[in-house]
């Protein structure tokens, strides 16, 4: 009888595992299909997708060549996007770590009001400023200015990420600060030599947020950037796709692959920081 029971448990386990693998296989297929399809489209000769199959019969790299030989402004968009995203990331990290350290470690007059303001600004979506940005950038001649766009992104990043990082720094024991202070370290040295190294997980998270945020933004960038030479990747690639009957869709696919692969690798590399950074700091607020 116990043998029977053992067998039935074994059977149950086999059924459960088989079902699990089936579900996982199906989900994997749904995930991978569009990605592989894009790679296939990018290698598909000609501009139309009508004749395409998921693995093209006669693969061609002509669309990749088009991206580099100036048929479309791809390199320019890529450069603009990287410049904007990278600058936003660096500035955000500097400002956010400064504000988060101050809010976490010091009790100063106006601290609570400051935190309240940040909380409120974090809730009001940044496109509330859309009308102002659109109207004012036209009137002040800030149209097409990458600097203006970077500053707007940085401003939008500060409130939420300050909260994330403050939560994380709050969890770092103050004894560490105190013992360093005993050794004669000033506020700034404690910040550089103790707080920052211990905050690596949350810094990785904020770096990724502030890098990919501008990289995927469409709404603010289209209000400021108007001429093709100033476009970022989302605007440029969107214009390729928006052409009639998908006339440039295969070129778009090639451009998409070249941005998606590096960013995806970056994510996969940093994802272990994500969980520890967000569940340690994020849930505590």
């Amino acid at each position: 009888m116990s043998l029977d029971k053992k067998r039935s448990i074994k059977q149950q386990r086999a059924i459960r595992l088989t079902l699990s693998y089936l579900v996982i296989g199906l989900v994997s297929l749904i995930i991978i299909y569009p990605l592989v399809w894009t790679v296939g489209a990018s290698l598909n000769p000609g501009n139309s997708l009508l004749s395409s199959s998921i693995i093209p019969k006669n693969m061609s790299f002509e669309h990749y060549q088009d991206l580099f030989n100036g048929k479309v402004d791809y390199l320019n968009w890529y450069y603009n996007s990287m410049k904007i995203s990278f600058s936003t990331m660096v500035l955000t990290l500097i400002f956010v770590s400064f504000t988060a350290y101050s809010f976490s470690r010091f009790r100063f007059v106006g601290r609570n009001n400051g935190l309240m303001l940040f909380l409120l600004l974090q809730m009001i979506p940044q496109f509330s400023a859309l009308i102002a940005i659109f109207v004012l950038s036209q009137m002040l001649g800030l149209v097409n200015s990458h600097l203006a766009l970077i500053l707007i992104y940085v401003g939008g990043m500060i409130p939420m990420n300050t909260y994330l990082m403050k939560g994380f720094i709050d969890a770092i024991p103050r004894d560490l600060d105190e013992s360093a202070r005993m050794d004669g370290a000033g506020h700034f040295r404690i910040f550089i030599e103790i707080i920052l190294p211990l905050s690596k997980p949350i810094i990785a998270v904020i770096a990724l947020f502030s890098f990919t945020g501008p990289l995927g933004d469409f709404i603010l960038s289209t209000t400021i950037l108007r001429t093709p030479d100033q476009f970022t990747l989302p605007i440029g690639l969107y214009n390729l796709v928006a052409q009639k009957m998908g006339a440039s869709y295969t070129t778009y696919a090639a451009g998409a692959v070249l941005i998606a692969v590096p960013v995806a690798l970056l994510y996969l590399w940093l994802q272990k920081f994500f969980v520890s950074g967000l569940t340690a700091g994020g849930t505590k607020g």
Partner: protein, 429 residues
């Protein structure tokens, strides 16, 4: 403190407070000449140098200009708001000066020494440090976030639109007229309610679906005897790792009515009729929800996996000892722990989708167009505001809707923050 206030005969605090009405006066009275000089010079020079600017700014803010083609109402509005912000800043400094004078006067009343210049300098370095660190970020915040938001919100109370715009015409304050119009004119009211309804439906369905799928898959993959976990997790995180705008545009191609692979290959393979993905609102909505589930579940999946790995094994062992089956364990241990830990993340997913402009706009421009409405069939509030601003220049209405939307979002967020523990842990509340 009580003792001293009873035994004091001097009234330095009160005198310093009253003298503080003259910038720096309180400091002079307390014999802190240098500090007083700094306050006096700063405040007096600010107000005397910008006297004309302030009056001009306030005049502009109130009238929004008087002569068409000479006065630009929108510039005047912007200048007016900046003036008010600057004046508020100066008043804050003044207030600080008065409070400082009062406090030092009180120290004297209590018979304590007032700090020497050197000690003041050291104090300033020490207590000024957090201000020094916050200032750069704060200045950026005021100029690129706070000021534009105030400016944008104030547009809602004007009659600014394509036909009534500077330099040819003056813009005027109209109070709440725009808000009244949104709710009283039939076309606007119907469009607004339609868009709002779809925004809510979209947020609830798409977010709930992506969170459910994410949590369930994480639990499924976390089974102890399942093999190939690292590779499965890597695959499941891919939709999150690939930039969203790229995949949305890929899907736009796949769902295309004429050349898309879904209508041409996948549906025929299963023997299903091709659907009008981009021209029928119902099918566009269906496609959007499916896409958002695809795009959004990996983040929840990753977070849930992190939580699951942190649940100690002895919890389950104890439950097994008590004779709990795997379903009971799931219901009483796993789900409550997971949901408790990722609740804040789930909330942010809801607010994210509420404002998820990219998927709506990049997939089908918020379309298809709907007769008798000036928003597309799948427009959510954000994309509608974007269109009102960028293509039809209905600035006042766009701004009024932005205000309504912000009130809605902030209200929900406040309600959520009140409930969450973040307030209780910190001395903020």
């Amino acid at each position: 403190m009580q003792q001293t206030s009873i035994s004091t005969k001097t009234n330095h605090a009160l005198v310093a407070l009253i003298l503080g009405i003259f910038p720096g006066g309180g400091q002079y009275y307390n014999k802190q000449i240098l500090k007083g000089l700094i306050f006096s010079v700063f405040l007096i020079s600010f107000f005397s140098a910008s006297k004309d600017l302030i009056t001009h700014g306030l005049w502009g803010l109130i009238t929004l200009g008087e002569k068409p083609r000479v006065d630009n109402s929108i510039f005047l509005l912007a200048e007016g708001i900046i003036t008010v912000l600057l004046v508020l800043f100066a008043l804050l400094i003044w207030y600080i000066a008065i409070v400082d004078g009062y406090k030092n006067g009180k120290r004297r009343d209590e018979g304590k020494e007032v700090n020497s210049v050197r000690k003041q300098y050291k104090n300033l370095l020490d207590s000024g440090f957090p201000y020094l660190m916050i200032t750069p970020g704060f200045i950026i915040l005021v100029f690129v976030v706070v000021f534009p938001i105030i400016f944008g919100f104030s547009i809602a109370f004007t009659n600014y639109n394509l036909y009534n715009a500077p330099p040819a015409k003056l813009v005027d304050w109209v109070g709440f007229k725009t808000f009244v119009n949104i709710f009283s004119l039939k076309l606007w009211r119907n469009t607004f309610l339609d868009v709002l309804q779809w925004t809510v439906v979209w947020t609830v369905i798409a977010t709930t679906l992506q969170c459910t799928v994410g949590v369930l898959l994480a639990i499924l993959v976390n089974q102890k005897d399942l093999k190939f976990k690292p590779i499965i997790r890597t695959i499941f995180i891919l939709p999150w790792a690939v930039p969203g705008f790229v995949t949305i545009l890929v899907f736009a191609g796949m769902f295309n009515d004429s050349f898309g692979v879904i209508n041409n290959s996948i549906l025929p393979f299963f023997g299903i009729e091709p659907k009008a993905w981009l021209t029928d609102p119902f099918w566009t909505k269906t496609a959007l929800i499916m896409m958002q589930t695809w795009l959004g579940f990996p983040f929840v999946f990753a977070m849930t996996t992190g939580v699951l790995q942190a649940i100690p094994d002895d919890l389950y062992e104890a439950a097994t000892m008590d004779g709990a089956g795997s379903y009971t364990k799931l219901k009483t241990i796993t789900l409550p722990l997971v949901l408790y830990s990722i609740a804040p993340i789930i909330i942010t997913q809801y607010t994210f989708n509420f404002n998820n402009f990219n998927i709506i706009y990049l997939f089908n421009n918020g379309g298809p167009a709907v007769p008798g409405s000036n928003a597309g069939g799948t427009d959510i509030l954000v994309s509608w505001i974007y269109k009102l601003t960028m293509s039809s220049s209905q600035y006042a209405i766009a701004s009024a809707i932005t205000i309504l939307l912000s009130i809605f979002v902030v209200g929900i967020a406040l309600w959520q923050f009140r409930k969450s523990s973040s307030f209780k842990n910190d001395e903020m509340a």
